[in-house]
């Protein structure tokens, strides 16, 4: 009898714990930051990953299951970058946030996708994402698209708060628009510059700000560079007048530094997510930091 009472007590406590602000669980810090900007005090947002993590290398952890189980809304990057979420969603037994429910948000749904592979793909091409390049949040214009998807979900789950969410969304988009004008203005003198990146993770960023990505330090996505490949890149930098290299903090920076040093061009280590580096706290900080790095370290 005591065991039954204990069991019922646990159930009661757990059900009362679920009252309060909407529980939003996201697969990345950027999604969490955008969701918090729209939901403000009406939402409690948790990201399953930190901004410093390589999203290709995330372990699905049981504690994530508990978080997704309690979520009213689950927001994911999609395009198979966070495919580790699939097993968590299955284990979480949360009917509110299953595919097709208002609480399930694939933030990539309305994104104009780049580098969608055509025809047959296989391992000889490296780690190719079959739905296109998934690093779309690195274009700040796509931040607005993500915000709209989250807004729609918040309204669907909590329609009585629609005016509040729309107000916050509008303010967020206006702030982002203002910042995008400033970022583009600051980077205008650098437009057209040729660059290298470590991973094929920057096409959205490059397209937005007018950089031309001529190659990657990785010979193919997810494949570590060989010494021969690095030598060919050094020659390419000189031949094609490539002006800088972009890498993420978790990339193989030794390989990047080798090319940068031998070719005599700067290496910029940029955050790919909110919380990914010191001083990069919010989604917009990614671009503030990137613009500052480019304008201070790259010569015109």
């Amino acid at each position: 009898m005591r065991l039954i009472n204990l069991f019922l007590g646990i159930l009661f406590v757990s059900s009362t714990l679920q009252a309060g602000p909407l529980q939003v669980v996201t697969s990345t810090m950027d999604l969490a930051n955008i969701a918090a900007s729209i939901g403000k005090d009406r939402v409690s947002v948790v990201s399953l990953t930190s901004g410093a993590q390589d999203l290709h290398q995330v372990d699905a952890r049981p504690s994530m299951v508990a978080r997704v189980h309690q979520a009213d809304i689950v927001v994911r990057i999609g395009m198979d970058l966070d495919s580790w979420m699939d097993s968590i969603m299955d284990a979480a037994k949360n009917p509110r946030a299953r595919l097709g429910k208002p609480g399930y948000v694939d933030a990539s749904l309305h994104i104009k996708k780049l580098q969608i592979p055509q025809g047959k793909i296989d391992g000889s091409m490296g780690d190719i994402h079959i739905f296109g390049n998934p690093h779309y949040w690195l274009d700040p214009e796509n931040g607005k698209v993500i915000a709209k998807s989250i807004l729609d979900a918040l309204i669907a789950i909590s329609p009585q708060e629609k005016a509040f969410f729309v107000h916050n969304y509008t303010a967020y988009v206006q702030e982002l628009d203002g910042k995008i004008i400033n970022w583009k203005s600051a980077l205008k003198p650098y437009k057209g510059m040729k660059i290298l990146t470590f991973h094929r993770g920057w096409p959205y960023f490059a397209e937005r700000f007018g950089f031309s990505v001529l190659g990657e330090i990785e010979p193919k996505p997810g494949i570590p560079p060989s010494p021969g490949h690095l030598l060919s890149l050094i020659a390419q930098v000189k031949r094609d007048r490539i002006q800088f290299i972009i890498a993420a903090p978790y990339d193989n920076l030794r390989a990047c530094e080798k090319v940068a040093k031998d070719a005599g061009i700067p290496l910029l280590v940029l955050a790919t997510s909110a919380g990914g580096m010191t001083g990069v706290v919010n989604y917009t900080d990614i671009f503030d930091y990137s613009v500052k790095q480019i304008t201070t370290k790259v010569s015109l």
Partner: protein, 342 residues
Amino acid sequence: MRIIIAFLFVCMYSVFTVAQPINLAQLAQTRIAQSEDVYKLMRKAPWDTPDFSFIGMIQGNTGQPVRLNEAEFVVQGYLYPSVRADVFMTLSRDEVGQLAIGIEEAFMTATNFYDNFGFKLGTKRIEFGKINGLHPEQWGFATRPTVLGTFLADDGLTGEGLSVDYLFPLPFFLQAQIGSWQAPVSDEPGIFSGAFYSARLSTSFALDNNSELSSGLNGVFDNNTSVYGLDMTYVLYPGSSSRLKFLNEVLYSVSNNVKRWGAYSYLVYKFDRYWETGLRFDMSDSLDAENDRSKMLTGVVTHSLTETSKFRVQSSYDLDKKSSETIVQVIFGLGPHSHAIN
């Protein structure tokens, strides 16, 4: 007769009319327009075949030739919302070294059957501890921990039946699972035979953003044998791609009043996405003789090409027999392959 000819003519006409070359792109557009929301919600592009994958394990042991040791052909997919099926067909070496075809697992999972309850139905590896429920390519080492092979089954404990799990609606992970299973009838002592039952209570806490502590209480029972287990795993993520994992399992077996125990500890450090190295200590009583306890130390180095393709070198030293064995293993995976969270 005329009516029949007219009917056949109309049928043939309609067939030829319908069987004009189909513009697939146009058809796809039409279908998207008709049910745009459904297609937009789909995680993948619209096709209805399940995921097919193949996992091969090539292995060479000390004094033995390098050969295909085991292969899995896997079919996976959803049958219905929240209901999926997973079929793992295997080619594995039998006692005389011949490759034999078998079904390793074939089960249906209802991920959310009723209010936090789910079930699995079919032929299934029993979820006892952290390793028995896994397939060999998911382990961090080439050989099964001695105690699991001795107390559960040489190739892992598998049963045909049903398990029901319940996820407690708590701020931390707590899940209970019970199962009722059938195994082939055997007279061998310590081997699960006929009807047997399983139970597992598992929990996990994120200690902070970079570490997790998981634990489980396990049991399998039949008329003659009971095996109890406790597992505990600590995982630390010191960097963006690095990971330290410390996995421990202790098992206690009671079979026809014969009591035995055993354990293993596995410490593994993943340096980056490509390299990891680990050390495992095994200790296990023999089921056949008293005061016969084996102790083994195993070192492993693994280089991963992808999530499912890796090279591994493992060297084990038997502390009692003073003998060693080295295994070279290549695991390769083709196609989309997934497993439930462990």
